[in-house]
Symmetry: C2
Subunit: 210 residues, 2 copies
DNA sequence: GTCTATACTGTGATAGAC
DNA sequence: GTCTATCACAGTATAGAC
């Protein structure tokens, strides 16, 4: 049996998932946790602070669950497979759905923004490590900032998860297209030197034009 | 001077942007419109239905504003430039921010989901047209579904806009990385036949392995 | 630490005057 | 079409009994 603090943290995540950012309140969270509403303020001071703590708590827990699978990734193909099952698993019961909700809330509530960034960065760090391993042999690393690419990947991932929530079929098509795109990137690795030369030529030409 | 219906539609968008999905209510919207709260229910039946109508209204208006610029896009470089200024313009005063909020709300409120899809599809259609023009000469069209790619692009775009709302610097890095990636795709066009051959070889090999 | 009780404000929605 | 008035309920937050 978990203590009340932990029960509230977990109930906050569950409520974010089931009711969304518009549906969370001290009352709904406390009801989910099976405790009194006043304890939210006793333990966390305000609903916002509870949400912030919950996101950090949840992301850390959830990432620990995926860490081994991230570490096992060696190719782009494997990274994509992990991304797709992560997408499926997280949407239903994970913390990315909750993260997406505070991300939306953080747009207008400055108190939520820092916690959201912390939660996102935990994922980004994991993606960046996997990406730099996967792309080590690729001509891409020469031209693209892997840190930035990891951030873009994480942001796009959240966007796709939200998209899936309102149009599952459309999201499926989007994911399929991205997989096709990945085959192309794999092909680039087979022709590394050629690509490098072409990109350099392209960069020169672009600079001349400007 | 606009009629009350229109004032409510526009006020709903403005409230979504300024207060987020968690902050919209018949009262906040009516206050923004400068009319009485009861008129929300008289004209739209419920807050949800007003939000749905507002998203559709806003997306259509906003896209009309961008239509010429979408039509003028002929290269990937131009599409990226449009995407970046669209990103900047929409975040501050546009309808994508509002769309992102109902997208988050639609995860848990089934009544919001259809309207969100309609709004998103308006953007997706525009992106798809531009993409198919831009990629016409690229070897990509042979291997990647452009419709799916447009959906992925729109979803990623919304994700990046939300990301920007909580971490502007990180979002900037993400966008920069995506631009670098685009140079690579441009380079591919310069070597179309070669790439086509490499991808086909890669596809054959992948099939053998499975 | 946890509960009850309470204050005050916000919310969706309706009835009815104008 | 627009307003005022009103309803019953949900929201944050605090004080104080246990």
């Amino acid at each position: 049996m978990a203590d009340t603090r932990t029960k509230l943290l977990e109930a906050a995540l569950e409520t974010l998932r089931k009711q969304g950012i518009a549906g969370v309140s001290a009352r709904t969270i406390a009801a989910e946790a099976g405790v009194n509403q006043a304890l939210v303020f006793y333990h966390f001071g305000s609903v916002d602070q509870l949400l912030g703590a919950a996101i950090e708590h949840g992301s850390q827990q959830r990432i620990a669950l995926y860490r081994e699978r991230f570490a096992a990734v060696g190719t782009l193909r494997e990274l994509l497979d992990l991304g797709r099952s992560l997408h499926t698993e997280e949407r239903a019961a994970g913390s990315v759905a909750a993260l997406a909700q505070v991300l939306a809330g953080g747009q207008t509530d400055p108190k939520l923004a820092p916690a959201t960034t912390v939660g996102l960065n935990l994922w980004i760090a994991e993606v960046e490590q996997a990406l730099s391993r996967v792309l080590a042999a690729s001509p891409l690393v020469e031209f693209v900032d892997v840190g930035g690419l990891a951030k873009a990947t994480a942001a796009a991932f959240v966007g796709l998860e939200l998209y899936e929530g309102v149009d599952a079929e459309g999201a499926g098509q989007a994911l399929d297209a991205l997989e096709d795109l990945a085959v192309l990137v794999s092909a680039l690795e087979d022709m590394g030197p050629l690509v490098r030369r072409a990109v350099r030529a392209r960069l020169r030409r672009t600079q001349d034009h400007s």
